[in-house]
Every structure is written in C-alpha cells, then in structure tokens.
Amino acid sequence: MSATAFLALLLISLAGPSSVQDEFLTVLMEPDGTGVWRDLVFRFNREHPGPAVHLIEGPPATNTREDMYTTSFLSGGASYDIVYCDVIWIPKFVAAGWLLDLSDLISEQDRADYLPVELRAGSYQGRLYRMPAFTDAGVLYYRKDLVAHPPETFDELMQIALRLKTNDRWGLLWQGKQYEGLITVYLEVLWGHGGEWIDDESRKVLLGSPEAIRALEFLKATIGTVSPPAVTTYIEEDTRSIFQNGRAVFLRNWPYVWTLIQRRGGPMKDQISVVPMVHAPRHSSAATLGGWGFAISKFCPNPQRAWQFVQFLTRPEQLRAVQQRQGRIPSRRNLIPAEFLSILDSARMRPRIPEYAQASDILQRWLSAALTGQVTPEEALREAARETQLLLAS
C-alpha cells in the first residue's frame, strides 16, 4: 500500500463514525440472559417511530461496564447514549459532568411512586440524574425447616449457626472476596453495630471507632467456624449455589435469590424465609442499598429521544416484565413484594462522594487483609482510616 493510500485510509477511519451515530442511539446493558431487554427495546422501536435504539450487551461484571462508560465519556464520544447506571456511580459521573440533569423532566406522579431512598440515591447535590428502575438491599435468608425463631442479634446468629452446622452444612454464607460486595456486607454489620464509614457532609472517616472493630471482628470470627475458610473468595453466585443446594443454614445476599428459588421451585422452595440483617443489642438492622436505573449521557446527540426511551423502560408494565423474567425488584412502591418493602424502604446509601471508587478500594484491601489474617482488625481499620482521610483531604 502506498503512503498516500495509507494516509487516506487513516483519515477516513478518523472521520468515519460521527455521521453514522446521529441516526440511532445506543444503550449498554448487562448480558441479556433472559432476552427481556431485547424484547423491550424491540417494542420501543416498533411503537415509537424515530431514531432506533440499539441494545449493546456488555460484560456481566459491573466494574467493567463502569470502565466502558468511563472510556467512552473520556473520549468525549457518544458511544453509549443511555447509561444503565449503578447507584454508586452517580457522584463520580455527575462530578465529572457526564450525565444530563433529569430533575425537570420527571413527573410529580413518578416522584411520588418511587421509593424516596432511590430518588435520593439517583441525585447529586439536590438534582436528579438517574431514573430509578430496580432496587437492591442486603437481606438474611434462613432455612425455616431448621430455624424456628430467626435470630435478631449477631450473637444469636452465631449461636444458631454453630448449633446447626454439620459436616456437610455450613452455618452462614456471605461475600468475602476483595470486591465491592465485601463492602456492602461489612457496612451492614458496621451499621448494625451503630458505626459509620464516612460522613458525607464533613468528609470525616469514622473507621477508628470500637464499633468498626467489633464489626470486622464479627466477620472474622465466622471464618472457619460457621463459614467456610474460602468465604473470603466468594461472590454472590458462589454463596447462592451452596445455599440452594441445601448446604448452609443462613445466607446474606440480595433479593434476586428469593425470586430464583421461588420460581425454580424444587425442595428448597418451602424451606426458605427471609429477614432483615441482624444487629447488635440496642441498635437496629441496616441493609446496604444497591440498585439500577437509567441516566442519559451528556454527549448524547438526541436527548429527547433518549428521555422517551428511559420513560418507556421505567413504566410499571416494563419494570414488571423485567421483574417476572429476571427476578429484579422494581423501585416503584406498588411493585415491591411484601417481604421486601420495609427492608428496601429503610436501606442505607454508601458514601456519596466522587472519590467513592478509591475509598472503596482502600477499605476492600484492608478488610480483606484482616479477614485473611495478614493484619489484625485494629491495624487494618487504622490504616484504612489513615489512607482514606489522606485521599479525602487532598
């Protein structure tokens, strides 16, 4: 190939995409295992004439999808117009100026229908950037054929788990791998002891408290006694499969487990019940809020069309369709199953700071180091507090 031809090709490839992209919009989602998203996007395109919306199925790891959005935003291009957005991305994405303000678009009726905590979680500095779609909160599953009275405190949980543990049945399962899930588990134990991680307003780190140490000591004490030694490598699905095979008494996980077990039936269907996470005496249960919603990229060339799409997907009938096929729980109050309403309603948010990802990584590393016996819980939390304070001060 001659140099001229090469340069010509290079120029064409650099100039290419922009003209094509105005004609359709894209939304990056999770892998569409059930096909429900494909059906909904197809229906939207058929019923609403205009530029088509294309569905892109991303990888299952939410971190990876966060990185894909980040890369696309950083390049200033509109690779993804509509963002299927995790609750913890909001402060970072908004502080970077990547999302459109939806505050004036959402109807009063919708505002009243959604869980208040979800609307707060989708907002940053008083403005709404994400339409809620599905809500998650950590809960405690237990085998009601084995446990007559579910525990309310950490001590009771430990005692019952120890008593019912056998050679091929573990007492308690939770997610202990060094990843975001470990944070959600630790926060529930921390809040249940009356502690806190970071104060959003003052940006103070509160990990030095005795409550924080007691919370970490509780998790550590379960390893090898009521929880498998490898619990420090587990994520949600590892724990669910062990629990669903009848090989554990208690499981800390998200509501989707309930839907899956109810739907697939089998022997476990009538043996499982769900309660809020346990707490220390004189304190109350806490669940970590998770959840998904839709935001619109600032680089989207056709925000009206994108908003039309978001409105369509977050209507009750669409949310119900996803609920039925995927097991997710909608954020609209009257679609939430009775078992979960009060737990979801009182779920708590993780710190709402733009530096969240880094703060979370610091805590993940030190929690994991303490849980795997590389440092003591006190040392771990002291170091985590020091590093986090340094991060938030800079």
Binding site: A3, F6, N63, E66, D67, T70, T71, K92, A95, A96, G97, K177, Q178, Y179, P228, P229, A230, V231, T232, T233, D238, I242, P354, E355, A357, Q358, D361, Q364, R365, W366, S368, A369, A370, L371, T372, G373, Q374, V375, E387, S394
Partner: protein, 300 residues
C-alpha cells in the same frame, strides 16, 4: 535525475521515503503516547481538578516514594516475575531439550505444546479459577483423592496460595512461548561440534556446557527478556482470578495503574505509576542485556 533511477539508486532520500510510513505510524502509536504519559506524570490531572492540568513538578513522584500500595504492588510484581519466569525458563528448556532429541513427531509435539499459548488469557484465568475452587475444583479433588491433603485448600483465599495459583496458571500458559524459541535455538546448534566433543571423549554435560549453551545464549536472552517484560505487565490473569486480593496480596503494578486511571480518574498519578514502572523495567533489561551479552561475547 529521472524518477525511475531515483527509485533504483541507493540514495539516502529514497531510503528515508521508504522509512517514512512506518515512522509516522510508530510515531502515532508509540512515541506520542510515551511523550504524553511522561509529560502527564508531571501534572495533576484528575476529577478533583475538573480534568484541568495543573503543573505538579516532582509532586507525583514524591507521592510515589511514600505510597505503600505502590511499594506492595512492586514487590508482588517482582516476586511474580522472578518465580514465573524462572519456572517457565526451566521447564521450557527441559521440554526443548527433550523435543530436540526426538527423531519423529517433533512438529506434532511443538504444535500440541503451543495450544495454551493460543488461548485468550482471560478465558484461561476463568478456567484456572474453577480448577482452584475450594468446593468443586478439580485440583482439590485430586489432592484429596490421592491422600496428599485431607481437607480442601482454599487456594485463592490466602495471599501466598493465591500467588502460587496465579504463577501456576501463568507457567501453564507461557511455557509454550519459551519452549519453541529455545527449540529453534537448539536446532541451530551445529552437529559437528557435538561430534567433535564426542571424539574428545566428552559426555552429555560437556556437550551441553561447551556447545549447546553458548549457542543457545542469544535465544535465552530473547525469551527471558520478552518474558520479563510480559510478566512485569501481568494484568488479565490477576484481574480475573483474584482482582488483586486478598488484601492486595496479588495486586500488580499494572493493576494498580489501571485502577488509578480508569476508576479513580487520576491521570497525572496514573501516568507517574506507568513511567516509574517503565524505568524499572528498562533498567532490568539493560542490566540483563549487559550481563548476558558480555558472557556471549566472551564465549566467542
């Protein structure tokens, strides 16, 4: 000068012209990023500065000196590189010697051994994660069936066993890279020299020491330097198998720089991490080159 004679004549101008397309391409994809990363490492450019560059001077490098997470990742990367490259070289050399002695089927052996190298690393990482799983992993099943252990070992749960697991997966994947390079080197060794040693009454060890090894040295250098550079940049295996855990026990430098760039949106400090890593790597390559090259020169 007529145009046709310009193309035919050995002139500098013509040679430069031939070189230009490649130079432009390299400039775009190699030189520019290197320059930009180096310059960025002297700036604060992050979310907190609203993505505006603020001159930082040596501040990022000072931060590096006191960043315990960087020190830890450097230690992890160094350990991983040393152990995995040593194992890969040792096993690769033994396999190459064995394969070179084969009369028939050399091609078949080479092809079969190459298979792990051709598979995508992320997929290999998922496979090895299953192999190392404590509940249903095949490795624990084998260890327990043969009575080597009585209880399942949670491989990825401890920092040392997790490191061992990652090294095992890496060795499995990259011996097939070292092996053919060394085999090619062995096939270059002149047979007459071996025969000469036989006539002088030398044994197998003498043959290896005085003939095979000196001829192999350039190939040893190539395979080792390539492997060190690749191992030092290890990302995908760790990212999938442990995510750098537990407790940062397997967090490599490239994983840390990636997190700093992509998740913390701190491009200034992320660039500093990359620049520091490249400098360390360049120094290693230089030392290794001088060391091996001198030996090579001395032999002949």
């Amino acid at each position: 000068m007529r145009l046709s004679s310009f193309w035919r004549a050995e002139s500098d101008a013509r040679n430069v012209l031939f070189f230009l397309p490649a130079a432009i391409l390299l400039g775009l994809v190699v030189v520019y990023p290197i320059l930009r990363t180096t310059i960025l490492s002297l700036f604060h450019l992050k979310l907190a500065t609203q993505f505006q560059a603020e001159f930082a001077g040596p501040e990022n490098f000072v931060r590096l000196l006191f960043d315990s997470r960087f020190h830890n990742s450097l230690k992890v990367t160094g350990l991983f590189t040393a152990v995995s490259v040593a194992l890969e070289f040792g096993i690769g050399l033994l396999l190459a010697l064995a394969a070179n002695a084969l009369v028939h089927g050399k091609g078949l052996v080479r092809t079969v051994l190459l298979v792990p190298w051709t598979l995508p690393t992320a997929i290999i990482a998922v496979l090895w994660t299953w192999i190392f799983n404590d509940q249903y992993g095949v490795l624990n099943a084998l260890l327990m069936k043969t009575g080597i252990t009585t209880e399942a070992i949670p491989w990825l749960a401890g920092p040392h066993t997790a490191m061992a697991a990652i090294i095992m997966a890496d060795v499995w994947k990259t011996v097939p890279f070292v092996f053919p390079v060394l085999l090619a080197g062995l096939q270059n060794v002149p047979r007459e020299l071996h025969e000469a040693i036989e006539m002088d009454g030398g044994g197998a060890w003498a043959k290896f020491k005085y003939v095979t090894w000196p001829h192999l040295l350039p190939f040893v250098f190539i395979s080792i330097i390539f492997r060190i550079i690749q191992a030092f940049a290890i990302f995908d295996l760790v990212y999938v198998m442990t995510g750098g855990g537990p407790g940062g026990g397997t967090e490599t430098v490239s994983l840390y720089s990636y997190q700093t760039y992509m998740r913390y949106l701190d491009f200034g400090y992320g660039s500093t991490l990359v620049v520091a890593t490249v400098l360390i790597l360049a120094l290693t390559a230089f030392v290794l080159h001088t060391f091996l090259h001198r030996r090579y020169e001395r032999q002949f």
